[in-house]
Amino acid sequence: MRCNPRRTAGAPQDTLWDLVVVGGGNAALCAAITAAEAGAKVIILEGAPKPYRGGNSRHTRNFRCMHRGPLSVLTDAYDEDEYFNDLLLVTKGKTDEHLARMVIRTSEECLPWMQAHGVHFQPSLSGTLSLSRTNAFFLGGGKSLVNAYYNTCEDLGVAVVYEAQVTHVGIEGDRFTHAEVTIASAPPVRVRGKAAVLASGGFQSDLDWLTRAWGPAAANFLIRGTPYNRGVVLKDMIDQGSETVGDPTQCHCVAIDGRAPKFDGGICTRLDCVPFSVVVNRDGDRFYNEGEDTWPKRYAIWGRLVAAQPDQVGYAVIDAKSIDLFMPSVFPPIVADTVAELGTKLGIDGAKLARTVAEFNAACRPGRFHPTELDGLATEGLSPPKTNWARPIDQPPFYGYSLRPGVTFTYLGLKVSDTARVQRADGPLANVWAAGEIMAGSILGQGYLAGFGMTIGTVFGRIAGREAAEHVL
């Protein structure tokens, strides 16, 4: 816990704060900084201990930014309509055009604001050249951004309390009065404030909730981000009548390395080998077209595909021809000289895997193979087919990876207005705003657009901080 007791005189519960910020990731920090710069006395209640501070922002790497010409590390231009169309494509229309366009338009002024508050950018990383026009990468990644913002908060005199789990948001009538907080397992205290910004993320780390929403298979899902997004505040607000948006049963789920940790594996657990693989399930059977489209357009559906297989596991098999065609995996692949031996090493029926691969190989046809474009090199007479990059798996050594569904975030969130105000059926709350993942479902109803979560968090964090400061000062 670091709460600047000298500056704020006493424990968090001894002060009537101008603004209580619940959560400690990107959106929370943007709100706290904006309000503190306007002169508000701000406290951040971060549920995680200091090494894990920052929520899922810790694992991010860029934010998607509109720009009318070259801007910082961003090349060329990316205008509002193109950005909005990209969003429409991934959400299949499940978005709020008014809010979405506001976020997109505001993203342009965010970049210099972020730089002015200590964030450094770098050119897009090797292997991500396709994003160099649309996404500005943080030098050092999201944790570096989080560090910069915490340092800015410290310089501004914002009080920060770690391991501060908010269990209840106290509301009287339409007004926030206090947050009930358990700080580092001590007895609960009431932190009183004139306004609140809720930026405590979704519920994807609460496996019981996830299982209730999705079904029993969710028990086998891996959670890619922080273990601290358990949706306690989200649920508390819903119980108190706040309006919600987003499908409560759905989460964004991608196929990741099956050996990844249960929580917090982050970016490096991704596996980009599927388009060059044969993918089988626990029983050694193929179940989907591995070459349907390029990986950036397909990795999200593979989370669901694997989730639908027995035991929620898949196995991707490649041969020596393909090992250098994709980004390295976090753990070395399983290696064997024959497909059957590889199957045994992967823990499945080796003879069955060898038969499946032999059938696949027999269905491959000669043709031009091109790893970075849809090459149309397809199988014939195979079900399911592989419609691109279908080369025989025949050159040892053979490599295998296990795949599991990895949950990135949940869609259920608080409904907000364009000033980030939290709504109830009878109208908006007077002094409660929300920002970040907890309200992102308002804009992102389905799918995901790389870097858009950080854009929503930054835009709405700053709006929430500004509105809250105006309200109390």
């Binding site: 090494p51 894990y52 810790r58 694992h59 790497r61 450094h120 770098q122 050119p123 990383l125 090797s126 292997g127 990468f137 943080f138 030098l139 050092g140 990644g141 999201g142 944790k143 570096s144 560090n147 915490y150 340092n151 940790p261 917090d264 982050g266 970016i267 490096c268 657990t269 991704r270 090992i323 250098d324 980004m327 390295p328 995996s329 976090v330 753990f331 070395p332």
Partner: protein, 357 residues
């Protein structure tokens, strides 16, 4: 402590493979772009990355996988251990290296004291007949002691560099390699953090240029002192102009400015080192690294004191002490932190070569 190169390599390899799947740190320094050339890391690749690392720690403070995360990454320490081990394996003869790196402060102090005593005794028995310093120790005596003490250790370093070059796949040096490498070293580009605000050394996750500037003062101060000695040598042999030299002469101008810079830079580096997290470096050699900084400060300070004491009765003792520090520096050169300069420059040159391949 036992030396287990395979274990150090394996731990660094485990960490680098995780790093290489993330790549968020590409913009900080030369290590990360170099890493992306590989999918699997041979020992030579790891040695190369380790010597390319300037221990700026930017990656560590930005890393979402440092302890308590189960991946437990500590890239600055893992590379520092491999780097240290690479010097100790390669520089000849190896056993001396291990001794100094781990018990540097004691060895350094004993050595300086012994050599100082030796010169005092030498002065008592056979004072020189020349002017200035040479009135205390004859010029030829100094040359007879210092020439081998300077050259033999350099042979040890040269052997180490040849072995290192082989292990890391270095090639014949081209002019462009030197331009790139010296350009990086002259500006300490790899301590800039990539964004120009410096590294994470003494201020935790805040950036600071202090270490870069302190190192610049030390490096350029050292080079100026070296230039002063070289100028004196040339003037002695080519111009037949023995010391003492006047204040405006190159040995004095270079020596005084260099001495001041070395003292400032060295004290600053030592203070920064006291405030930095020792767990982000090779912990077992913390003392040896500190001893090396202290020795450089002692060399410069005793040299400046000697100059200030010209004509007083303090000169014999100060001269003996100064010569003691300088001789200790030379004798210990292959086995002290001084080798970092040779190896890091080699790594920068080799990196220029690998970048172009």
């Amino acid at each position: 402590m036992s030396f287990d190169t395979p274990a150090l390599m394996q731990e660094a390899r485990r960490q680098l493979e995780i790093c290489n799947a993330c790549r968020y740190c590409e913009g900080f320094c030369s290590v990360f772009p170099a890493m992306t050339r590989n999918k699997a890391f041979a020992d030579g690749d790891i040695s190369h990355l380790a010597n390319l690392c300037h221990n700026c720690r930017g990656c560590s403070y930005s890393c979402q996988y440092i302890p308590p995360h189960e991946f437990a990454l500590n890239i600055p320490a893992a590379l520092a251990e491999v780097r240290q081990d690479s010097w100790e394996r390669h520089v000849w003869p190896a056993p001396l290296a291990r001794a100094f790196h781990e018990r540097g402060l004691v060895i350094m102090l004993v050595m300086v004291a012994a050599i100082t005593a030796f010169f005092l005794a030498l002065h008592g028995r056979a004072p020189g007949e020349g002017e200035g310093f040479y009135a205390f120790v004859a010029h030829n005596t100094l040359v007879a002691i210092f020439a081998p003490a300077f050259l033999l250790p350099l042979v040890g370093v040269a052997i180490g560099l040849v072995r290192y070059w082989r292990e890391t796949g270095g090639r014949r040096i081209a002019l462009a390699d030197l331009a790139g490498a010296f350009g990086s070293a002259a500006r300490m580009r790899n301590l800039s953090g990539g964004h120009g605000e410096g590294c994470n050394f003494e201020k935790g996750d805040r950036y600071s240029d202090a270490r870069r500037h302190a190192h610049q003062a030390m490096m350029y101060g050292f080079l100026l002192c070296f230039a002063a000695t070289s100028a004196g040598t040339l003037m002695h042999y080519l111009l037949d102009w023995p010391a003492p030299y006047p204040i405006w002469s190159p040995p004095k101008v270079f020596g005084i400015s260099g001495g001041v810079l070395m003292i400032l830079g060295g004290v600053w580096l030592a203070l920064l080192k006291l405030r930095a997290d020792p767990d982000l470096g090779a912990r077992r050699v913390w003392g040896g690294e500190m001893a090396f900084v202290v020795l450089l400060v002692l060399i410069a300070a005793s040299g400046m004191a000697l100059y200030a004491a010209t004509g007083t009765g303090a000169v014999p003792a100060l001269l003996a002490f100064h010569l003691g520090t300088v001789l200790a520096f030379f004798v210990l050169l292959p086995w002290s932190k001084m080798v970092h300069g040779f190896f890091r420059l080699s790594a920068l040159i080799i990196e220029e070569q690998k970048k172009r391949r």
